[in-house]
Symmetry: D2
Subunit: 343 residues, 4 copies
C-alpha cells in the first residue's frame, strides 16, 4: 500500500503515519518529492485495511498496490530518478539530460590494456569506465578475471583519467571489494535473481547497475529492483542487455521495448547494452543508435584495443575506430531528439 | 552455385554459361549489376561440379553456396535493391535515400474511415497507404475484413490521394484481386511459409512486402524471400514485425538486430513495423524511432481516426496527433544520420 | 454464447431456439450429447443479450463465452470426441480406447519405398500410414514432394495394406486431391493459421489432423480448431509437434503439457509427434513413451527403411528395428496405465 | 584434454601422467572405472600438445575436448553415476535401478506442517523429503522462508521418518548451514550460474542437486555441473524443472528431451520436477508419468496437506490423495519399462 500525503502535510503528519505503520509491525518508506510525500508500506503478507489511515492528519489518499513492487513505481516516486555517481558537484549522472556512456573492455587483462582503452574512452567524452575483475564465465576453464589485482588497476584508471569505475560483484564478499575500489556496483544478468546479493547491494553506499536477466520478465526485473530499493539504496540504474529467444543471428535479442514500458510506470533510469545485446561487433553501432533513439538514458559498450586477442567477449567488442564512429552517431541522435523531448 | 562473370564478359559468354546450365537440367538466373553479371543455378539437389564452368569463356569465378538461399544474397546481387512502387518516374521507392512511410488503419472499415485516415497519411508526407481488405484473424468470429468491397475503396483512395496501396493477400485467389486493385502485395507473418502463396506472389508483376513470421529464424526469412525471387519477381521488401518470446509487456518482441544482419548479406530492403512489433500504441513512436536509427528503409505504422472504435488492432493504432508527432521524430533521426551514411 | 437445453427439451424446443438465433442474423450450432443438447451461437461481433433466450421453452441456462472459441469446448460438447477414420464398422478411431499409431516416411519417394515402409507399419499393428506428397520445405531448392503421383502411390498402399492414409494439403486445391486419394487431411504446423485452408478443411467430408504451429499458444491452437468446427466438420484431431524455443539440443521443444491442458477444456482428441518434436532419431522413442504416458490418444512417427537416403527429414526418422522397439515400449505403457484410467 | 589409460596400466603409470600434468601447471582429475582409468586436464586456457603424453607409459589414447566440459562426459567417466545419499549401506540412491522420489512442500512453514506432510511422503514409499528453509522469491515482500529454524525442523523430520533431507542454499553461508542439518544441497534454477555458489557446493561432502536454469541451454547446464565436479564433488544429480517459453498454459515448459540428450553424453543422473515444470497442480501427475516414461532417474514433487493455505507455490502443490495417485501411476510405468531397460 502507498499512502500519499497532502501537499501541505507537515513533518509531524508524516511521522504520525510512519508511527502507525510501525506499530502494525510493518516497515515504512517515506519519500519526499518536490510537491508531495509518499509513504510505502512493506512487510505485509496480506492486504492492509486502508481505513486505518484514511483519517490520519495530512493523508491525501491511499493506493492499493497489486504488483509485487511499489518503491520502483511512479506512484511512489513521481519524478524520474537521476543517479549521480560520485560526490563532487560535477559528478556524472544517469537519468538526466546527459547521455551516459559506460565503455571499456569486458575484463581487465593488464595495466597496459586497461590504460590504453581508458585513454580511448576518455577521449570519446564518456565519463564511465567498465571492466570486470570478477567474470561470470559459463565454463570453469575460461578466464575468470584478475580478481582484486584487477580492481586495483581499475582504481588507478580512475585516478589517472577521472573516469567512474563500473564493475561487477558476483557475491556479497565481492561487493565489499567493489566498494573499496570502484564507483558503481554492477550486478550481472545471471545474478538478477541472486537475492542475497541484491540485498547486500541495497545496503551499499554506492549506486548499483542492475542488468536484466536473460529470461526475466518486466515484472521480475522491477521486483529485483525493489529488493535493492527496499534495503534503502535509491541509486539504482537498470540495464537491458538482451533476452534469450529462438533467434540465431545474435547471441541475445535486445528488447528495446522495455525502455518505454519502464518509463510508463517507473522512475528508475535505464541504459542499453548493445554489446551483450547482440554479441556481434558488426551490429553494435546500429543497436546503440536504436537504444538512444528509443529513449534510453545511456549505453554500455565494450571496446578493446585488440579485440582479436581479448581474453573474453572479443567477438562483440568494438575496435577503437568503430567505437569512435558509434559514439559520434549516437550523439547525433541524442542531439536531434533533444528539442522534441521524447520519451 | 553462383557463377560470377568477368567485367568484360560478353552477352554471348553469358548465354553460353546459361546454355550449359540448362543442358544439365537446372535453371539459370542471370542478373547484371553495374560492373558484372552473376548467374545463379537452382534446381540441383546435390552439389554441382564447378569444374564444368571454370573454363567457359567469360567466367571469373564460381562460388559454392551452402546456405539454402542464393538469389537474396549480395554475392549474387552486390548492389542494394531499390524497389520502385509504380511505373511513373516519380514513383515512391523503398531501399533508396527516401524513408518509406507506409501508414493506415489495420483494416478498411468504410469509405468514410478510409478517406479520413488517408487524408492524414497524405498530409504527413507518407506515400503509401496500408489497410487490409482480407484480415487473418485468430478467431473465426472476429471481423474478417470487407473483402473485394474493401479493395474497391482502396482503389478509390489511390486515385483521390495519389497514395500507393499496400494490402494483404492470404491465398492465391486474393493475389489476383490485389493485382487488380492495389500496388503492392503484402504477405503476412502467418503466411511467411505458405509456399504456394509465395510462389504465386513470385509470379506477380506487383512488388511484394513479405513480413517475417512470428517464429521465423533469419535463414527461414531469407529462404521464403528466395521462393519469391526464384519465380522471377525481384521487387521484394522484407518487414520485421516482432517475434514471439516469453515477454509479456509487449505483444511481440521487435528484433531490430535483423536489420544489420540482413544488410550484411542481402541486397533486399527491409522496413520495420512498430505497431505489430509492440501491440501497444503508447510505445509505437519510441520503436519507430529505433527502427529508423537501426537503419531500416522505412516504417509500417497503424493510425486510426478513432482507435477506440477500430474493428481490429485498435490497441496498437496511433491517434492522429500521436502519429504526426511520431513522423516528425523519425524524420529528425533520418536527417541527423544522413551525413554519416549509416548502415 | 452457449445455450444449454434441459434434459427433457423436445426437438421443437431446439428448433425454436435455433429459429430465434437465425432471426437475429447469427448462426446456430446445435450438438446433442447423450444427456443434453447445447446450441452455440456464432457470427456475433458483440455480446448477445441472454435475456432473449432465458424464457424460451426448454432452455436450461445460457453461458457467456469469453474465450475466442466455443465449439471446441467441453461446455459445448461434454463428451470426448472419438474420430472414426473410414466408414466401415471396424474403422480405426482416434480418441477412444485404442492407441492410434500413425507411421510412415516424411515423404513418398517411390512406389518401392512406400510399399517397403508400409509393410513395416502394418506389421507393427499401426492402422494409419503417413507420408507427404506435397512437402512444405523451407528452401525452394529442396525436394518438394511427388505431387499427385505421390498421392496415387498412397492410394495403392491403402488398398494393398488396409491402412488409412494421412497426408498433407497446403492449399485449397490440394485438399480436393487429398479428398480423392486419402483418408485424413493433415494441416501442417506452418499452415495452422492459414485461415482459407482451415475453412476449406472444415467443409470436407474427411477427418482433419491439425498440427500446432511452431509459435502457437494454446488459445490460438483452439481458435484454429474452431475455424474447422465452425464450418461443420466435427472430425478433428489435434497434434502437438514441438514449439520453437531457445534450446539447441532438439529441433523443437515438445510441449507435452498441452495434452492435459487440452483435456481440461476440450473434447477434441490429441496426438503427439515425437519425430518433428525432437528432430533427432535417437530420442524419438523416449519422447514417444512420454507422449503416451502424458495421456495422448496416439502418436505420429516417422520411420524409413533407409533414413540415410531419405529425401527429407532423414535425421529424425527411425530405422525399422528402432521403430519396432519404440512401438513395443509405448504399448507397454499404454497397457500399464489402462487400469488407472489416467488423463 | 582427456588421457585414457590402458586396461593394464599400473598405479605408477597413472601417477606418472598426473605428475607431468602438474609440472605443466595444470590440474589432473584421475577417475578409475571398472575397466580403465581416465585423466582429465583442466586449467589450460589453450589447447595442449598431445604429443607430450602419447609415449608415456600406460597411455592408450588422448582425446581432444572441444566442449566447455569434460568431467561430466561419458568419455571421461564411461559408467553412469549412481549417487548415494547417506553413508549407511541401505542409503537411497539416485541413478540406479530404484526410482527416486523427492517429495514435500515448497517451504517449511511449521513443525506441524512438516511432520504432517512427511508422514504422507514416507507412507508413499518415497525416501527423500524436500522443503525450503531459504526461499528465492521474486518479490521482496513474499514469504522468504523460516531460515535456520526451518532447517532445525527438517533435521527433526529426518530423525522421525528416516527420510533424506533435500533443501536449497542460495549463497555460500547457507551451504554451511545445509551441511549441518541436511543430506543433499539443492541449487535452484535462479542460481544455476551463480558460480561462487557452484564452487562452494563442489567442495562440500554432501551430494548436490542442481536445477536447470529457466533459460539454460544444454551446454550451459553441463558447464555448471562441470564447476561442481571440477572442485572435487562427484555426487551430483541434475534436475529438469521447465524452461521459459512463450506458452501461457503453464508456468514453464518442461523440456523432457533433455533426459535422452543427457544420457547420450553424460554419466550424471537426472530427475524431473513436474511441479515447477508446469506450475499447475492439475497436470503434475500427467507430467510426472511422462518424466518416468522418458527415462528420468527420479521425480521431485510438491505435496501439501492444505495447498490452499500454502505460503508459497500452493497452485502447483498436489493434495495428499492426488499425490498418492500420482505415485501409483508413475510406479506402474517404472515397472512396465523395467524389462525393456529403456534409456
Amino acid at each position: 500500500m502507498l499512502i500519499v500525503m497532502k501537499h501541505d502535510a507537515s513533518a509531524e503528519d508524516v511521522a504520525g503515519v510512519v508511527h502507525v505503520i510501525e506499530e502494525m509491525g510493518y516497515t515504512a518508506h517515506a519519500v519526499a518529492s518536490s510537491n508531495r510525500t509518499a509513504i510505502g508500506i512493506t512487510g505485509n503478507q496480506t492486504a492492509i485495511d486502508s481505513s486505518r489511515f484514511a483519517y490520519l492528519s495530512g493523508v491525501a489518499e491511499t493506493i492499493r498496490v497489486t504488483k509485487p513492487y511499489k518503491l520502483t513505481t511512479l506512484d511512489f516516486h513521481p519524478e524520474k530518478t537521476i543517479v549521480r555517481v560520485g560526490e563532487e558537484t560535477n559528478a556524472p549522472t544517469i537519468g538526466g539530460e546527459e547521455l551516459a556512456i559506460i565503455a571499456g573492455p569486458c575484463a581487465v587483462e593488464s595495466h597496459a590494456q586497461a590504460f590504453a582503452i581508458a585513454a580511448v574512452v576518455k577521449r570519446s567524452g564518456a565519463r564511465f569506465f567498465r571492466a570486470g575483475a570478477y567474470k561470470p564465465r559459463t565454463s570453469p576453464y575460461a578466464f575468470q578475471g584478475m580478481g582484486e589485482e584487477g580492481l586495483r588497476i581499475l582504481a588507478e584508471v580512475r585516478e589517472a583519467f577521472d573516469l567512474k569505475i563500473v564493475t561487477e560483484a558476483m557475491n556479497e564478499v565481492q561487493v565489499d571489494l567493489v566498494e573499496r575500489y570502484g564507483d558503481m556496483i554492477q550486478i550481472g544478468a545471471r545474478n538478477m535473481q541472486n537475492f542475497p546479493l541484491l540485498r547486500r547491494a541495497g545496503r551499499s553506499h554506492l549506486p548499483v547497475l542492475l542488468k536484466r536477466g536473460m529470461a526475466a520478465t518486466f515484472d521480475e526485473l522491477l521486483s529485483s529492483a525493489e529488493y535493492i530499493l527496499a534495503e534503502g539504496n535509491q541509486n539504482l540504474v537498470l540495464c537491458e542487455r538482451g533476452i534469450r529467444t529462438f533467434t540465431q543471428h545474435t547471441r541475445n535479442t535486445l528488447d528495446l521495448a522495455v525502455v518505454p514500458a519502464l518509463r510508463r510506470i517507473s522512475h528508475l533510469p535505464i541504459i542499453v547494452d548493445p554489446s551483450h545485446g547482440t554479441g556481434k561487433s558488426y551490429m553494435v553501432a546500429a543497436l546503440a543508435r536504436a537504444g538512444v533513439a528509443v529513449g534510453a538514458d545511456g549505453l554500455m559498450i565494450e571496446v578493446h584495443d585488440h579485440p582479436d586477442h581479448a581474453l573474453s567477449d572479443g567477438s562483440q567488442s568494438l575496435t577503437v575506430p568503430d567505437y569512435e564512429r558509434a559514439i559520434t552517431e549516437v550523439r547525433l541522435i541524442h542531439e536531434a531528439l533533444m528539442p522534441v523531448a521524447v520519451a
